[in-house]
């Protein structure tokens, strides 16, 4: 049972436009969400996070929106740049129990920004 879902395996966007990457989750105990960016042959790098007490978090060109009632979050990149081309992973964490530092990842969305 996949608890974190990224239903779009890939996304292509023109340079300068907005990229919107989506993520859905099923576990209502998740209370912290993260986005990671991964280039080929490198490890994932942390991009931005959001706690469930917020509905928006912004860091430069990157904004994450959280809709708890819909169990949905999205990552907006504005404006998109060719260097943003990478695989983006959505991850979620549940504060309860011994696994509070565990992250559950989605399968990733490959973003291609076309110059």
């Amino acid at each position: 049972d996949q608890q974190v879902k990224q239903n779009s395996p890939s996304l292509s966007v023109q340079e300068g436009r907005i990229s919107i990457l989506n993520c859905d989750y099923t576990n209502s105990m998740f209370d912290y969400f993260l986005w990671y960016k991964k280039y080929p042959a490198e490890g994932p790098t942390f991009l931005i996070s959001i706690s469930s007490i917020k509905d928006k978090n912004e860091d430069g060109r990157f904004t994450v929106f959280l809709n708890k009632s819909a169990k949905h979050l999205s990552l907006h990149i504005v404006p998109s740049q060719p260097g943003d081309s990478a695989v983006y992973f959505c991850a979620a964490s549940d504060a309860s129990g011994a696994g509070s530092y565990q992250l559950t990842f989605g399968k990733g969305t490959k973003l291609s920004v076309i110059p």
């Binding site: 990671y36 490890g43 565990q102 990842f105 399968k107």
Partner: protein
């Protein structure tokens, strides 16, 4: 700099062989993790460790063994490698506030 090193970066081994993937953090953060990344599956947790001598299973632990005698090292051993364990393996550590994890560069393992 994530402060995590992994070795080797690339490894080819034969079915049935034992192989150990090394992970070292330059800090002394408590939690360390091992993931595997496979096409169509994203990142899946194999094992994690909350501190030295404390380890626990993740989502896909079968066929793997871990140890953590020192806080900074967290090796992953495949006791008898199988072709299904061909994958890219990532080690990660906690730290930096919140529940962020910081990843190493990965080890690409091929089992022939």
């Amino acid at each position: 700099d994530a402060g995590i090193t992994q070795s080797p970066r690339y490894k080819i081994t034969e079915t049935g062989r034992q192989v150990t993937l090394m992970c070292h953090q330059t800090w002394s953060h408590s939690y360390m993790f091992w993931y595997r990344q496979d096409l169509g599956h994203g990142l899946r947790l194999i094992y994690y460790s909350a501190a030295a001598d404390i380890t626990d299973k993740g989502e896909v632990p079968d066929g793997y063994v871990v140890s953590r005698s020192k806080t900074e090292n967290f090796p992953l051993t495949l006791e008898s490698a199988t072709r299904s364990q061909t994958s890219v393996y990532f080690c990660a550590r906690s730290g930096g506030g919140g529940r962020k994890q910081y990843f190493g560069p990965g080890t690409r393992l091929t089992v022939t």
